[in-house]
Assembly symmetry: C2
Homo-oligomer: 442 residues x 2
């Protein structure tokens, strides 16, 4: 802020992958523009890579390269450590090391913060060092900053979103083309939109990492990743996508965290969204996060959730924010979660059995009289009433699909009904269940 010659803020970078290269390039090639904009000189001082000899998109000139990431953390020449290697190990030790050395730490590592968040947040809080993780959730969407700063005077009641670009890309293509999950996945892998091992994305685990972080932030509580109910998109069929469309819905993989009085509900699963609602129209690799808060009502942030450019933008925004903090001469402005972890109580997690929802059900059953009555009877016996039904055209001696939408029901009742129906032997394939998203605009 002041006009005189300012001490540069020195950045150390760990990891020169797709995002790392972009960050290094921006810090190097756009150094002047960044300084003109912020008034603060930023300098890429040290970079740790696994292999010094590897060919890269960008190799920073002027920065010291090392193969030892702890050299970056321990260097007296580094003010802000940027960790872009991902995974739990050694990222956890690097984070704790940076906290101890009271260095700023910027990370895009959602897995680390989901699995070891409580320890990491508390280490930074105790040392008074700064922690930035805007890039860990939903790429360029400024959701972390929004909860920490924009909703600081409000109370978040619900946070839900499409937070996995790969999953959304696959579901969007299944919807647009009526294609099978396996085929789109193969194509997505060939195009580089999905990993060779797509488990984290398609099984909802990556979304669960992100909802763990968002819930901790939004509800100011300690969240265990293992408390998140997690269900992926691998069982969704073209028929489900088509039926959803006929019923006026689109299927999206949602991460959902809701506060209900003094407890929270945490879950990741495919959900049906009304076609006209905003999130239903967030397609391809885009992410969206919706917050519902006491005073601001519903807010939805939409943007690119992954990729080098969007993630680099999020990383840079943390670097610049920290550089501004440092240059202003003050200490850390807040705890990593906004609120101090020290004083947080762990809110109890509501068991999935107690969830109330409307449901989409698809049964595969023989085409014979009485089957529908049997299904409807078992649902009715558990207090579940049917809102609408689709039965597909029949082919001689082929199993038929019976698609039902229910009114609001309790998950435990639904499970009991389905166990009953399946035990009767009429189901010729596993029954598909998709929950309907809560989508009451306030």
């Amino acid at each position: 802020m002041n006009g005189g010659a300012m001490k540069p803020v020195r950045v150390g970078l760990i990891g020169l992958g797709v995002v790392g290269c972009q960050v290094a390039r921006i810090l190097t090639e756009e150094a002047e523009a960044l300084q003109a904009r912020t008034g603060i000189p930023l300098r890429l001082e040290k970079v740790a890579v696994r292999d010094l000899g590897k060919e890269r998109d960008f190799t920073p000139e002027g920065a010291i390269l090392t193969t030892e990431p702890f050299d970056v953390v321990n260097s007296a020449e580094v003010d802000i450590v940027v960790e872009l290697i991902g995974g739990e190990d050694p990222a956890f030790d690097l984070a704790i090391g940076a906290a101890r050395k009271r260095k700023g730490f910027v990370t895009a590592n959602k897995l680390l913060l989901a699995l070891r968040g409580a320890e990491v947040f508390s280490a930074f809080e105790k040392s008074g060092a700064r922690l930035g993780f805007e890039a860990a959730v939903a790429g360029a969407i400024p959701i972390i900053r929004s909860i920490r700063e924009s909703f600081s005077g409000d109370q978040v009641e619900l946070i839900q979103g499409i937070v996995n670009g790969t999953g959304n890309y696959i579901l969007s293509r299944m919807t647009d083309e009526g294609s099978r999950f396996e085929d789109v996945l193969k194509d997505a892998q060939a195009l580089g939109y999905a990993e060779a091992d797509p488990t984290l994305d398609v099984e909802g685990i990556d979304s669960a990492h992100k909802i763990t972080i968002l819930a901790a932030l939004a509800f100011e509580t300690v969240v265990d990743f293992s408390d998140v109910y997690t269900e992926g998109i691998t069982r969704i069929t073209p028929e489900d996508v088509i039926s959803a469309g006929e019923l006026g819905y689109r299927i999206k993989l949602l991460g959902i965290a809701r506060r209900i009085e003094d407890a929270i509900s945490l879950r990741v699963h495919p959900a049906m969204l009304p076609q006209r609602c905003l999130m239903a129209n967030v397609n391809g690799p885009f992410n969206a996060v919706e917050t519902r808060s006491k005073r601001a009502g519903v807010s939805t942030l939409v943007g690119r959730g992954a990729g080098g450019g969007p993630t680099a933008t999020a990383v840079l925004s943390d670097i610049v924010s920290m550089a501004r903090d440092i240059a202003s001469g003050g200490g850390a402005r807040m705890a990593p979660l906004g609120s101090p972890v020290g004083g947080m109580e762990k809110l109890p997690v509501i068991p999935m059995d107690e969830l109330e929802s409307e449901y989409y059900l698809r049964f595969t059953v023989p085409d014979r009289p009485g089957v529908l009555a049997q299904i409807a009877g078992a649902l009715g016996d558990n207090g579940i009433s049917i809102a609408s039904m689709i039965q597909r055209e029949r082919m001689e001696n082929q199993p038929v699909s019976v698609v039902l939408m229910t009114h609001n029901a309790v998950e435990a009742d639904m499970k009991r009904s389905l166990t009953h129906i399946e035990s009767s032997g009429i189901c010729l394939a596993p029954t598909m269940i998709i929950r309907i998203a809560e989508n009451d605009r306030d």
Copy 2:
């Protein structure tokens, strides 16, 4: 951040209207929760109102009430001044006074920042005082913070949005009900969604205020409000709304700021958005702001743009951010616009005549042979080609509407064509022109 007893950050409030009452209530009734969350005690110290005797939703106990707003600015007991009276005078002097006294200043006053922004921003920059104006644009949508912080390492190329809730409410109802502008306006006034004098909202002036502020922030330039081309929604008819729907569009009032090389385009006008795009689905009192930036691509933030609750949330977020700054012991983290105004050059504004756009045109003409040929001829002579056409059913001896969509054309050519067509005497009512929004998802 530190555990010891912290000095309270003292807030002075000017204006106890709808938003002011909410802010006062939160600072008073939720003081403990705010302190638990931020670690900082906030205290409402002084409040200026016009009339001490007036009945209010909330009258703060414990704060000193005064009728002299400058008492709040000049008080040694106030760290942050919150201005919620709106208008240019005395808000401008209050802002400048706060800057001189080096107090934090939080305002929701878009008119002030649009008309006198350059002076206000520069006063705060020079004195090193903090200025917060999240509430001035799009209520609870964190667009100011996003541009200042989240896009600090990126380059915004386009920022456009639905930034006037009243206008969007009216257009949404016209679209849903096929009602006339005048009727919906009257209803909106009765419901309190529109002011008795709706000029600022329906003529696009309020949107122009906001786009002035957003453009200054996004493009780091000095923006003159008078440079914004401004056109409201008063001339839109039910027929336009219906034709838009038939053509696959919805009509929204957009504020648009685009950087094209070293110049900017600034405009507010009704625009046609493809029905499936996100902003087309932002209805009622909701606002939306879309940014397109070099690395992050397209991001869209949607939320409530006005009203006591959303605006109070935005005001509170600025108060908390400043309190965190103050408590951290540092100086101001950045200039009011992120970048220093001092070094800003005023980017030239591209004249509307040079705009390129596709157009929707509705002519009211006599139902006789040759008229369409005349229109198409005049357009063709100016290099404008027709993409599609709707002609409504005819009634004997009644004028007919001819609705055309053009391919990309230059505004000057369009104007010339229309002058030519109107001078020929075939138009029985003024021709309606609506520009098609740019909506290429990257």
